[in-house]
């Protein structure tokens, strides 16, 4: 219980610090604040999808029920954070560039991830039989994961980007005010712990449900 409370205080401090402590970035004005929420959410989404794929690969090796369930849990969480990141990004895009959506390379990539994991969860609901569902879903997860990197090469040929540059630029130099960096890293850590906490909770619930079914 202690560390959940700690996480609550931590995240509250991040929110307050994002608005009061961190200075504004050049050219971004008040929209700077999105850095502390949007990027960590996108990061957690990618992390969750990665975890999901790792568990899918593990499932095909171990064939253990738990690996499949954890792959599904992580995919659901990833989808949730990806939707939040997409929505917050779209609001930022409206404020910054005047349109909610313009197929920016990063918008395209996150949209593709939404499609893939939406399809993954749809497939899970369309297959009867626990083992078969686990097998087919794991295969789909892996093949989808393999094709995503190709977007990195092709999308810049199609659309040019307005998205603010990555945190680390080509020279490997951070272009962030130290205070901004503090809040940003604190938020990144907070969101990551939040993800693992929800993941662990869902995994516990799944195990309890299973136990209950076996008992009845």
């Amino acid at each position: 219980m202690l560390w959940q409370l700690l996480l609550f205080v931590w995240m509250s401090l991040v929110i307050v610090a994002g608005f009061l402590y961190a200075p504004l970035a050049e050219k971004l004005y008040e929209m700077t604040r999105i850095i502390y929420f949007h990027i960590p959410m996108a990061w957690v989404a990618v992390l969750a999808f990665l975890v999901s794929t790792v568990f899918s690969i593990r499932y095909l090796m171990t064939r253990s029920w738990g690996d499949d369930v954890r792959a599904a849990i992580s995919a659901q969480l990833g989808l949730l954070f990806a939707v939040l990141a997409t929505a917050s990004g779209a609001i930022f895009a409206k404020a910054m560039w005047g349109a909610f959506w313009n197929w920016d390379p990063r918008e395209t990539s996150i949209f593709l991830l939404l499609l893939i994991y939406g399809a993954y969860l749809t497939l899970r609901s369309a297959v009867e039989g626990e083992d078969k569902r686990a097998r087919l879903a794991a295969v789909y997860n892996i093949i989808a994961f393999v094709t995503v990197p190709f977007l990195v090469f092709i999308v810049p040929r199609l659309y040019f980007s307005l998205h603010p540059g990555p945190l680390l630029n080509a020279q490997g130099r951070l272009e962030m005010h130290p205070r901004m960096l503090q809040v940003f890293l604190a938020s990144l850590a907070g969101f990551t712990v939040l993800y693992f906490w929800i993941f662990d909770l869902s995994w516990k619930v799944a195990r309890l449900k299973r136990k209950q079914e076996e008992a009845s």
């Binding site: 095909l60 593709l112 499609l115 893939i116 939406g118 399809a119 749809t122 497939l123 369309a126 297959v127 009867e128 083992d131 078969k132 097998r135 087919l136 794991a138 295969v139 789909y140 892996i142 093949i143 989808a144 393999v146 094709t147 995503v148 190709f150 977007l151 090469f153 092709i154 999308v155 040929r157 199609l158």
Partner: protein, 220 residues
């Protein structure tokens, strides 16, 4: 039985059963031709830029392939030969045989719709070898990804709708590369060299991954 013979046996079996009914080919061809005519009719007498023509071409190919390429595995389930095939052939033979069948089906479809596309919509192409490379490499990647997804959805409920829903997310990088390459060729500005590389890499990666993963889809 050596591996190649097994692959050939699966391919010929599908070939023969397809030509008894011609279901997959007819469905895909009918879809492709009607879509092509509808597009051409909707454009009417107005000229249309190479940008849009390239997009149309690949959308037509993608949608027609969804109408036909799923049949290879769906028909095994519908005619209840799934288990029998599982007993007589190794998974890699089944996958390779079905993949080649789908590839031949797709290329056969393109032999008919590409000339029709050029007759009806009249795009200009300077570099024919580049165009053929984009078309063939795109088809190889498309057939590779779709064959694996077809094996997955054959074992699920709501097969028809699911094939497109599961395939498109995986095919978007391919579609993007193929469209971009075709657009450059229709425009005549620069070549499609980079896109051809991406399409080749995509085909290799998808086929290798499908080859490794198919066993898990096929065997209990």
């Amino acid at each position: 039985m050596p591996w190649l013979e097994g692959v050939l046996a699966v391919f010929l079996k599908d070939w023969r059963s397809e030509f008894r009914t011609r279901y997959a080919l007819n469905a895909a061809l009918l879809f492709a031709v009607t879509t092509l005519v509808v597009v051409s009719f909707a454009i009417g007498a107005f000229g249309i830029s190479g940008d849009l023509l390239a997009a149309f071409l690949w959308v037509i190919i993608l949608f027609s392939s969804m109408a036909g390429l799923g049949q290879v595995f769906i028909k095994e389930v519908e005619s209840r030969t799934f288990t029998a095939l599982r007993l007589v052939a190794r998974p890699s033979e089944v996958w390779a045989g079905k993949f080649f069948f789908n590839l031949v089906l797709l290329l056969g479809l393109e032999v008919i719709i590409i000339p029709l596309f050029f007759i009806l919509l009249n795009p200009r192409v300077g570099d024919w070898s580049g165009f053929l490379a984009v078309l063939i490499l795109g088809s190889v990647g498309l057939a590779g990804a779709t064959t694996l997804i077809a094996a997955i959805i054959a074992q699920a409920k709501g097969k028809g709708a699911l094939l497109a829903g599961l395939s498109y997310p995986i095919l978007i990088p391919l579609l993007a590369a193929a469209t971009s390459g075709t657009r450059h060729l229709f425009h005549g500005d620069g070549g499609a060299g980079q896109e051809i590389q991406i399409l080749a890499a995509y085909a290799v990666v998808v086929i290798a991954a499908a080859f490794l993963l198919f066993e898990f889809v096929w065997s209990e």
